[in-house]
């Protein structure tokens, strides 16, 4: 499997990244190399291997439904580029 420039453009759009032509070329060649590297795995015969859903062989990490203190609002809002001491403020979201 090989990635095309169009694939990379699409992934960039989905990730909200913007590249100029030069950057896109560079990113495409990087990503092709990464995919080719990972593709090496498909050389292995996995016919008798059960698919795994998680890297750890651990199950059922469940927590009891008991509330703990949340962050003070000031702390929660602190990293936001913009807030009004009550809400996060974001550029107007268009559409309904």
């Amino acid at each position: 499997m090989s990635l095309t420039r169009q694939d990379v453009e699409k992934v960039a759009l989905l990730a909200r990244l913007k590249f100029d032509d030069e950057g896109l070329d560079k990113m495409t060649s990087h990503m092709v190399q990464i995919v080719e590297y990972v593709d090496k795995l498909s050389e292995l015969n996995t016919d008798d291997v059960e698919p795994m859903a998680h890297a750890l062989d651990v199950f059922n990490a469940l927590a009891e439904d008991e509330p703990r203190a949340s962050l003070p609002r000031e702390e929660a809002l602190r990293n936001a580029p913009k807030n009004d001491d009550e809400y996060f403020r974001v550029p107007a979201v268009l559409g309904e």
Binding site: H54, L62, A63, D65, R68, L71, Y87, R89, V93, E96
Partner: protein
């Protein structure tokens, strides 16, 4: 119902907020209505390095609901990331379930007591757990000012219940929602408050239209924002008509247009197209590496199964078959909720008269609950107290109109039926005195006797009126029967 030139095909996706104290993957409170952004932590804010941990109760409430919907519970389930950007989704993905949901393949039966549609089994594709997003508050003049974001709701546990496209009318979709809500209420897994968004519904709708060239299907539209049973019904009917008009105009069929999302505007009573980004359908699901899969045993599933009490469908059947109530009465009683059913069962047992108890709860009790806008748990007359009243009716001590008077006073005063009867001066008329009175009336009214003898039984009504004048405490039913007996024996 008038014949439509098309068949509506409807599948519903219902989001149920589960009744937990804390969020799905962190221990922030889920309480509704707190000041904005006071129920967040590094996990639900999506801070790097924070680690989500699954809420045990949310998983088991989800399983309980799935079992009640006759779903199978896979032994292994895992969590996936659904990737998209939106300001009320701080992590940039929603933690949901993709290919291995916690439950699959169930059903919910719906029926109409008003004959709006044939009974139908709506199959369920799956019910899976996922987290809710936050709340965006947009400025009225869109585009002018910032949007405000409250992340208190972010991470609240939802069970998404997805049906097959098995419904064929808006009335069926509404009935499905109502029956589902009733079931969830009986299971006590959600408060089902539609105003607070605890129960939300999206509908996938299209039409099958019979043409000269066979049946065609119109493109599927997903309707969002239907926040009441009424808007579910109206939104779907509006959308069906709109699709038919568009098809007549453009001739576009399924596959020729992408799936569209439209929002129901309740004030304007129309659906409106929602802005769709071209790439929005590409969610790039992948397993969430931060969350550990869940494995359950048969024993655990059985344990949850045993926690499930009586459910609406089974109770309706039981009230009909064991308590000999009509389909309609059984439906009315069950639809009021488990507390009301328990009230009825207690009343039926204490009074020993299932039918009379059914008539009273469905009539007088329900009328008063509706008048006062209260639930059965706040009702002032206990089932035991009402049973005493019903016993007086059965014994012939009270006729139904007097019994209603007594009931009203019981409700106001909190006194027992016997005490109220005494207060009101209602006395049971001695049997022999009653018979003497009837005999006297029959002797005095030869014409009525002749009328009755000639087959007009109704004529005896005039004697009841006279009897009441003589003694206001007489029981009209008894007077009628005794008079008829006397006349017939003449």
């Amino acid at each position: 119902m008038s014949e439509l030139p098309y068949e509506i095909v409807i599948g519903l996706e219902v989001h149920v907020q589960l009744k937990t104290n804390t969020k799905l993957f962190c221990r922030c409170s889920t309480a509704f209505g707190s000041p904005p952004n006071t129920q967040t932590c590094p996990v639900c804010l999506g801070m790097p390095g924070s680690l989500p941990v699954m809420n045990k109760k949310a998983y088991f409430l989800g399983m309980k609901t799935a079992l009640a919907l006759h779903c199978g519970i896979p032994k292994f389930t895992k969590w996936d990331r659904k990737n998209y950007f939106y300001p009320d989704l701080p992590k940039g993905y929603q933690t949901s379930q993709f290919d291995l949901p916690m439950s699959e393949e169930g059903y919910l039966d719906i029926k109409s007591t008003k004959d709006e549609f044939e009974p139908r089994r709506v199959r369920i594709i799956r019910a899976h757990l996922e987290e809710d997003a936050g709340k965006s508050i947009h400025d009225e003049a869109a585009g002018k000012a910032d949007s405000r974001i409250d992340l208190n709701r972010t991470g609240t546990p939802l069970l998404e219940i997805v049906s097959y496209p098995d419904m064929r009318s808006a009335a069926e979709a509404k009935a499905y929602m109502q029956e589902l809500r009733l079931l969830l209420t009986y299971l006590d897994v959600s408060d089902c408050n539609m105003q607070e968004g605890s129960l939300r519904c999206d509908a996938n709708v299209n039409l099958h239209i019979t043409t000269d060239d066979g049946v065609i299907a119109t493109p599927i539209v997903e309707i969002k924002n239907m926040n009441s049973f009424r808007s579910v019904e109206r939104g779907i009917n509006y959308e069906a008509k709109r699709q038919y008009d568009v098809w007549q105009e453009t001739g576009k069929v399924l596959g020729e247009l992408p799936k569209q999302t439209r929002g129901w505007d309740d004030s304007a009573q129309v659906t409106r197209s929602q802005r769709e980004k071209e790439e929005s359908a590409d969610y790039r699901y992948f397993p969430c590496p931060d969350l550990i899969p869940v494995v359950v045993t048969d024993e655990q599933i059985d344990e949850v199964r045993h926690e499930i009490g009586d459910l609406p469908a089974a109770l309706r059947d039981r009230l009909e078959s064991e308590y000999d109530l009509t389909t309609y009465t059984a439906d009315v009683i069950v639809n009021q909720g488990l507390g009301f059913v328990e009230y009825y069962l207690e009343l039926a047992a204490a009074s020993g008269d299932n039918k009379l108890a059914g008539n009273w709860v469905q009539g007088e009790v329900l009328r008063i609950l509706n008048d006062l806008e209260i639930g059965i748990s706040d009702f002032g007359v206990s089932a035991a107290a009402l049973a005493e009243l019903l016993k007086l009716i059965q014994a012939g001590d009270l006729d139904s109109s007097k019994a209603k008077d007594v009931f009203t006073v019981m409700l106001e005063s909190g006194k027992s039926a016997a005490a109220v009867v005494e207060d009101l001066g209602i006395e049971k008329v001695d049997e022999s005195a009653l018979e003497d009175l009837c005999r006297l009336l029959v002797e005095r009214n030869q014409r009525i006797v002749d009328d009755v003898k000639n087959g007009n039984e109704k004529a005896v009504g005039a004697l009841i009126g006279q009897a009441k004048k003589e003694n206001p405490n007489v029981n009209p039913g008894q007077v009628r029967q005794i008079c008829l007996d006397i006349i017939n024996s003449l």
